[in-house]
Structure formats: structure tokens, C-alpha cells
Amino acid sequence: MTALVETRGLSRRFGGLQAVDGVDFTLPEGEIRAIIGPNGAGKTTFVGMICGRVAPSSGSILFDGADITSMPADRRVMVGIAYTFQITSIFANLTVEENVTLAAMRRHVGRAGQRYSAAELQDASLSALERVDLQNYASKTAGNLAYGHQRLLEVAMGLALEPRLLVLDEPTQGLSDTEIEGFIELVRDIGREATVLLIEHNMPVVMALAETITVMDRGRIIAEGTPEAIRADRAVQEAYLGAPADG
């Protein structure tokens, strides 16, 4: 399989802090990949560079073989990279449907290079909402949704972009157990047509979904492998999984 995403020596400094430190990373097309690691490991910064939200201090990023290191974030969305924020980011004052339509609209105007009809646009929006089971909330104001539903709405916005790579930054944070179960199903489903890069602290979710796990600590990748291999890895246990309870 060819690599959809590849980073070479990717680094980012914030003042004196090396948030991401020379990361070489390869993500094959079609995979569901989880990135785990303790708080402050640099996960959000790392995927932020892939999406174009954060400019790298050095290193390069390839997407589908093309160098996108200096491509602006909005153009990266157009080549197929969609991002959901760690801190939920939706249009709180607009309706649920309008939130998704703004995503679908971009997808339809941009990549196909032709105009859409109002009906097509509505179909695209509603089908994205159906996939996350929010179709009954279409006319509600997004900010009035329950927190879990707002997270799902953001995923629906990502889906409406019909991305090749969907980046989910701690999507299950704050979801109830039943919501998490539904979410695992949803990501499996998404994984059938898109590559998924998932930052996640919830280990059962990671174990259920990830084909490969990348472990980050202090800006570096310290381990990478199948869920079983990662579970058994000593370095990972020390850094993260089995870290001695410190409080």
C-alpha cells in the first residue's frame, strides 16, 4: 500500500519547548491509526502540522506523494484532509443543518469545480447527519445540542467534506459509555472509505479501532505497532500505559 501521509524530520518548537521533535511517520492509505501518549506529548501539535493549523519549525509533510509542507490549511482541506478539533468547534449560533451544509458546500464547489444544486447540497448534508444519527436535529440550533451531539456534529462536518484523511482529536472525550459504543461503530464505518488518524486517550476505544498504534512522548515517537505489540511494550508502559500511579 502507498503512504497517504508521510512526515520527515517534522519538528515544532514553542519558545524553549520542543513540542514535536524530528518525527518520521508513515500512514498507509485505508488504515485506522491511533496516536496515543501522555498529556503534552505533542499529539495535537503533530496532527496540527499535518492539517496546516500549525507551521512546522523544520521537516516536511507529504500527502499522497506530494509535498504539502507550505500549503495553507484551507487548500489542504480541498486535497482531502479534514480535521475535528480537540476542543469542540462548531457554529454554535447556526442550525445543525447549516453547520454541515457549510462543509458540504465547500466540498461540492471546490474539488469538483462545478456548482451544485440546492437539492444536491441538502442531500449531502442530510446524509452526513444520518451517518452520525443527528438527522432529527437538523433544524435545531447547534449550540443547544448536548455536548456529545456537538462532537458528533463536528464529525458529520468532517464527513460532509468527503475527506481522504479524517483526523479526529480526542473525539470521545466527554461522551457517555453508550455514546462511545456508537462512536466506535461509526469510525469503523468511516474507515471503510477513508483513512482515519485518531488521537485518543480512551484505551478500549483505541484497542477496538486501531490497526496500528503510534505512541508519542515528549515530541517523539517512542513505539509503533499492532495493539497487542503496544500493550506488551515496556517503554510504552513506562511512559504511558502502566505509568506508576503518581497521584
Partner: protein, 326 residues
């Protein structure tokens, strides 16, 4: 017109009804109010242009007097010094607004929030100083009056009150429907998205800088159209129109009428105009030798408005009763 298809029937009917009322008013208003209404219609276009940037895109500018003045001076100077015809002068005003808003937008949009407000205000002050500095051509504060003979459009004499009212109404109608089409089109929806959450909009693949620049230019050109029409219809232009006060006025009109509503700017302009007018009369008649300012009454009105209609009149009407109001 794809965009028009998106305008729902109720909204379209409402806007047409407003135009119809304004049309009929022309025959029933007494001469004094007739003249005021013509002025209000032209200035409401200024407010609508401002609303596009402030209300819909969420960018607070305090320099919009420069776009109004670009139209005012672009048209006024080309009639006064170059003897241009009315349509050519109007075109010069629009071109002035286009060039100025593109340049100012390109520079000022590198900032956001308070910095944007300050940068636009500074550009506005520079424009104001220009009108004073080139006093040989502009006559500065004193200003210039266009000769009546130059203010004709084919067979139409723009100094005739009836013709003037109709010309103002035509301009207003065009600006209203252009705004309505813009805000209902994908472009307008993206502007609202930028206002609501710019980072999210960018991460949906929109080039937010380009969209904001587009909004600034559209806003600048509409304001310039108002300025150009103002000088051609009322025949006078001077530096006071470029002063910061004329950047604050459209903000007030929009706040009163309702930001991000298509009809709010008209309503706000009418109310503020008459409020100032009436409070002046009232104060002068009740307290002839007190020499108090109408600003007190205007201030009280604004406080009441913010208490009871925080989103402006039409903004609150939309929130509470008429959700489909554009």
C-alpha cells in the same frame, strides 16, 4: 440568477412590499419629509454596505466614511473639475470605492478585532486629511456645490424633488436586492460562518482572507455608490463627510435597525434621522436658551434600545417572532 432561487418567497414578498410602500410614500409625504426620505434612502444604502461587513462578516470598521467619501469625491470632483456626465461620474465614484476598499482591505485584514478597528480608523483619518490637504481641488471643510446644470441624467433633472426621490429609491432598491442576493448566496453564508467561527471556517476549506477581502470590497463599493449618489442628488460635498463621525453613523444606524438583517439598516437610518430631528425641535422649543445638545436624547434612546432590543429592532424581532427574516 442562482442566488435569487435561494431567497424564499416570504422574504421576497416582504422586500417587495417595503419597496412598494416607499414608492407610495412619495405621493403622500409632505414636502419636508419627502426631502428627508430621499436623503434617508441614499444614506440607508451606506448603512447597508456597512452592514455587509459589520453585521454579516463580523468585522467592526471605524473607517467607512472613507468609502462613502471615495464615492462622494470620485463623483463630485469629476463633475466639478472635469465636467463629466452623471453616469460617468457615478462610475468614477464606484471605481474609487473599489480601488480604495481593495487596497485598505488587503492591508487592514491582516489584523483582527480591536486592531482592525484601529487600522480602519487610521486609514479613514488619512482619507479625511487628504480631503483637507488637497484643498485647491476640494475646498476642504467649506466644500463644493455642483452646478444645477450638471446634475441631469438624460431628460431627468436630478434637482427636481420627485425625480430625486425616485432616483434615490432606484438606488436603494438595487442595493437592497444585491445585498439580499449576496447574503443568501454561498458567499454570504461563508461570511456568516467567518463571523461565527473563523478558524472552523478555515478548517472547512475556505480561504477566509479572500472571503473577507471580497466582503470588504462589496461593502466599500456599496458605500461608494451611496456617496456618489449623495453628491449627484444633493449637490454638495465637503470634508465633514469624510470625518470619523460619518464612520460612526452607519454603525449606529445598523445597531439600531438590527445588524445582519437586510432591512435593519433602512429602519435604523429612518429612526435615528427622525430622532435627531425631533429631539432638536423639542429641545429648541422647550428650552430655547439652554442650548442643550440633542445628543442627550439620542443617548437615552440608545440605552433603552440596548436594554430592550440588544440585537437592534429587526434582530430582536427575528429572534423572538419571525425566524425567517433575512
Amino acid at each position: 440568477m442562482n442566488a435569487f432561487a435561494a431567497i424564499d418567497r416570504r422574504a421576497l414578498a416582504l422586500h417587495l412590499a417595503v419597496i412598494a410602500v416607499l414608492f407610495v410614500l412619495q405621493f403622500v409625504l409632505p414636502a419636508y419629509h419627502h426631502g428627508i426620505m430621499a436623503r434617508i434612502l441614499v444614506l440607508a444604502v451606506f448603512a447597508m454596505g456597512y452592514n455587509l461587513l459589520f453585521g454579516y462578516t463580523g468585522l467592526l470598521s471605524l473607517g467607512h466614511a472613507m468609502f462613502f467619501s471615495a464615492g462622494l469625491y470620485g463623483a463630485g470632483l469629476s463633475v466639478y473639475h472635469l465636467d463629466w456626465s452623471v453616469p460617468a461620474a457615478f462610475g468614477a465614484g464606484l471605481a474609487g470605492g473599489l480601488v480604495l476598499s481593495a487596497a485598505v482591505g488587503f492591508l487592514a485584514l491582516r489584523t483582527t478585532g480591536v486592531a482592525f478597528l484601529i487600522v480602519t480608523m487610521m486609514f479613514g483619518q488619512v482619507a479625511y486629511l487628504f480631503t483637507l490637504y488637497f484643498t485647491d481641488w476640494t475646498r476642504g471643510e467649506e466644500g463644493l456645490t455642483l452646478p444645477q446644470a450638471a446634475r441631469v441624467l438624460g431628460p431627468l433633472d436630478l434637482t427636481d424633488p420627485t425625480t430625486r426621490y425616485f432616483a434615490a429609491l432606484v438606488l436603494f432598491t438595487i442595493a437592497l436586492f444585491v445585498t439580499l442576493a449576496l447574503v443568501r448566496a454561498p458567499f454570504g453564508r461563508v461570511l456568516v460562518a467567518i463571523r461565527e467561527n473563523e478558524e472552523r471556517t478555515r478548517m472547512l476549506g475556505y480561504d477566509t482572507f479572500r472571503n473577507k477581502l471580497g466582503a470588504t470590497i462589496a461593502s466599500g463599493v456599496i458605500c461608494a455608490a451611496s456617496g456618489a449618489a449623495y453628491v449627484l442628488l444633493f449637490g454638495y460635498f465637503g470634508s465633514s463627510f469624510a470625518a470619523v463621525q460619518y464612520s460612526i453613523l452607519p454603525l449606529l444606524w445598523v445597531l439600531v435597525g438590527g445588524a445582519a438583517t437586510t432591512l435593519g439598516p433602512l429602519l435604523g437610518t429612518i429612526l435615528m434621522f427622525y430622532l435627531v430631528d425631533l429631539s432638536n425641535d423639542l429641545l429648541n422649543s422647550r428650552f430655547p436658551d439652554w442650548d442643550v445638545s440633542y445628543l442627550g436624547i439620542v443617548g437615552v434612546a440608545l440605552v433603552l434600545l440596548i436594554l430592550f432590543f440588544p440585537k437592534g429592532l429587526l434582530g430582536s424581532v427575528r429572534d423572538r417572532w419571525v425566524r425567517w427574516l433575512p
